[in-house]
Symmetry: C2
Subunit: 99 residues, 2 copies
């Protein structure tokens, strides 16, 4: 399952970096803790709607634009086939041709 | 501030109703409690990314499509002027015309 918070975190981090701003600057402007913003950007924490709004305001980017970008990235990810590891029947027999 | 969870709840509820399905049906299919789904639809609870994914699967609608619709609704709402209540200078003097 593709998780919204991962995609959202990626877009927020990219926007911040495009503006050449640090986690410290944006977290202060958004009045959220640096650790919280960092976790949101890494997709490790769900941002509440209120704090997501504050982060977007601090980045001076409309939330609708962030969601549009997330939606586009997600549509692309949804269209890609899932890659499953190929099951192997048993231990591989590797011949070291360099030997 | 326009809250993501409200707009998200509206879109999820509309999709469910368009399909003529009950809260009970969709909550069972998504393996979430009926109360939780109801609160998410009313914008009273933040849906975790995992449960949002489950609800979209239960509705058989890609999450990207839901987010696109939320983004479109939000863009429209962002373009509208905010309506502030008009401050009144003091207590209102109400004349009961029926008396």
């Amino acid at each position: 399952m593709i998780l919204l918070r991962r995609l959202l975190g990626d877009v927020l981090r990219e926007r911040r970096r495009d503006q050449g701003r640090t986690l410290r600057e944006v977290s202060a402007a958004a009045r959220v803790s640096l650790g919280y913003l960092s976790e949101v950007e890494r997709g490790q924490k769900e941002a509440s709607s209120e704090l997501l709004g504050s982060i977007c305001e601090a980045l001076d980017v409309p939330l609708s634009e962030v969601l549009r970008e997330v939606s586009d990235n997600l549509a692309l990810a949804e269209s890609l086939p899932l890659v499953h590891p190929v099951p192997t029947p048993g231990p591989l027999h590797v011949t070291n041709v360099a030997a």
